[in-house]
């Protein structure tokens, strides 16, 4: 599993830096997911250093960090590079949204005045077919249905996230959203359950998603 990211337009990032009157930057590039998506890693770091230097920014430091999203790893990086963090007025991260927020959290104690910016848009948690082909197959809804839908997720593959599909927008197994090019998730489920002899599961009426737990900040805390 990889958190899939894409690059924000360079101008969008530069405008944000300008609006915030940024002068000295510390760059943090994700060495795992964003490296795989070619939005971070060593290559991304080199690319952004060049862009920012050409724009006249002072690059205090630039590091590839394996787990930007792990508070413990980021805390170590900040400790080891304390003088540089202190000197920079802002951090810019080539990572997903988790990376940004991990840095914000780690800096909040000693360096709460520092700004943190991001160069990427976070798309989804993705299944990798090959590099450059990533697909959303799970939304992390917290109440997995896959045991009864033949291993195909309706929340993700149905454009309406219906619990009891297919809807009238399905034509010849294709979905009305996207000009009938993508498969209807519920037809995929029907075909799969038919293959494994479990159409009884297809006939079952499923309750709507319970938003009482999903609608706010979710956390898994077991110690």
């Amino acid at each position: 599993m990889v958190i899939i990211t894409t690059k924000k337009p360079v101008d969008e990032v530069l405008n944000v830096l300008k609006d915030n009157n940024v002068k000295k930057l510390f760059l943090v590039s994700c060495g795992v997911c964003s490296a795989l998506c070619q939005t971070g890693g060593e290559e991304g770091l080199v690319e952004w250093k060049e862009i920012l230097e050409n724009e006249g920014y002072d690059i205090v430091n630039g590091l590839v960090v394996d787990d930007v999203c792990d508070n413990r790893e980021m805390a170590k990086i900040v400790r080891k590079n304390d003088a540089d963090v202190q000197e920079a007025d802002s951090i810019i991260t080539l990572s997903c949204g988790l990376g940004v927020q991990s840095i914000v959290q780690v800096l909040s104690k000693k360096y709460h005045e520092k700004n943190v910016f991001v160069t990427n848009n976070t798309e989804f948690m993705g299944m990798t077919e090959r590099i450059g082909r990533f697909y959303m197959r799970c939304r992390g809804c917290g109440d997995c249905l896959l045991n009864e839908t033949g291993g195909i997720c309706p929340i993700t593959t149905c454009a309406k996230s219906l619990m009891n599909g297919p809807c009238g927008g399905m034509v010849n197994g294709k979905c009305e959203v996207g000009n009938y090019e993508k498969d209807c998730g519920w037809v995929l489920i029907y075909n799969r359950l038919k293959e494994i002899g479990r159409l009884d599961l297809f006939s079952k009426l499923r309750d709507p998603i319970d938003w009482s737990e999903s609608g706010h900040q979710r956390e898994v805390v077991w110690r």
């Binding site: 927008g169 010849n172 037809v187 029907y190 297809f202 079952k204 709507p208």
Partner: protein, 310 residues
């Protein structure tokens, strides 16, 4: 046998087993419903009730609950209020069901609704908190048990709830099982998507007969060649047969200088196509009636009545 409760003329006619005709009205992006009310008045002598659409194709129109109320009041025609789960969450819909009842609506058709991405506000949030089956279940809970999520309603609503079905659906097996889910939660009538393929329709209706839900067959008499061609091109999953298109094209050309005669011939051609189609299904005991979706074509209704009564 427990006698079914009746809340509307539609409910009454279906309970009696009378072969009925329902129509369709499509309010537009307007706050003035005078055109729709006029059309409702024209079809009122022939239909038991008429559907009032809820922003079809995701294109924003006047709210269907408000339009249903106004049409019913002004035209004196009972409506089948189309309600999609596209735009409003479960909490909002439960409130609307009570509101719909308070406004005098007694029939509601549960629909998923076309995705907002298809329409003219594609950036809208697609809600789909419920789906067409769980909306039926909610209505039935409110009407039959007088509760919402187990909480008592002081004065519960009384509405009949129906569903849509698509005989053109491929794979048909998925559609059939889906109808089964809706029947299980208490769906009281079904209106089908427009059909032109008799064999496929017989196969589909024979399959869903086991669910014992009255079926109203969706038909679309075509007012002109342009309408037939447009329907064939722009309505996904519905193919107008080539011979119909050819015949309608011929009428267009042959009677281009005599519009009155052209209208009469179009009407006659519709009659000749749909009469044997409907008669065959009626004879097989597969139908409770017909749902005519030909909006802006009220003059066809007297002829359709001949088919219904035949």
């Amino acid at each position: 046998m427990v006698e079914k409760k009746v809340y509307s003329k539609l409910g009454e006619m279906l309970a009696k087993g009378e072969f009925i005709l329902t129509g369709e009205l499509e309010p537009e992006k307007t706050c003035d419903l005078s055109h729709t009310i006029q059309e409702a008045k024209e079809i009122a002598p022939y239909v038991v009730a008429a559907n009032v659409t809820d922003s079809p194709l995701g294109i924003v129109t006047i709210n269907s609950m408000a339009a249903s109320h106004i049409i019913q009041k002004e035209a004196g025609l009972e409506v089948i209020w189309q309600l999609t789960v596209r735009d409003i969450n479960k909490l909002g819909i439960a409130g609307m069901i009570m509101g719909g009842h308070a406004l005098g609506l007694r029939n509601v058709l549960s629909l998923t609704g076309d995705h907002p991405a298809l329409g003219d506000m594609p950036e809208s949030k697609p809600v789909f908190d419920l789906d067409s089956a769980t909306l039926i279940r909610l209505v039935k809970e409110m009407v039959d048990k007088g509760t919402i999520n187990g909480h008592e309603i002081e004065h519960p609503p009384t509405l009949h709830v129906g569903a849509a079905a698509n005989p053109n659906s491929d794979p048909m097996g998925a559609e059939i099982l889906k109808i089964g889910r809706k029947a299980e939660v208490g769906c009281e009538f079904i209106q089908t998507q427009v059909v032109y393929d008799l064999d496929r329709t017989i196969e589909f209706l024979s399959e869903i007969k086991k669910y014992n839900v009255p079926i109203l067959l969706g038909i679309f008499p075509m007012k002109s060649y342009g309408m037939a061609k447009g329907f064939d091109t722009f309505v996904p999953g519905v193919d107008v047969p080539k011979e119909i298109l050819a015949k309608w094209k011929n009428i267009k050309t042959e009677f281009k200088h005599d519009k009155a005669e052209q209208k009469r011939i179009y009407d006659q051609a519709n009659y000749e196509f749909f009469k044997p189609f409907i008669s065959e299904l009626k004879k097989k005991g597969l139908l409770a009636g017909v749902h005519c979706m030909a909006v802006h074509y009220p003059r066809i209704f007297p002829k359709l009545m001949e088919v219904i009564k035949a």
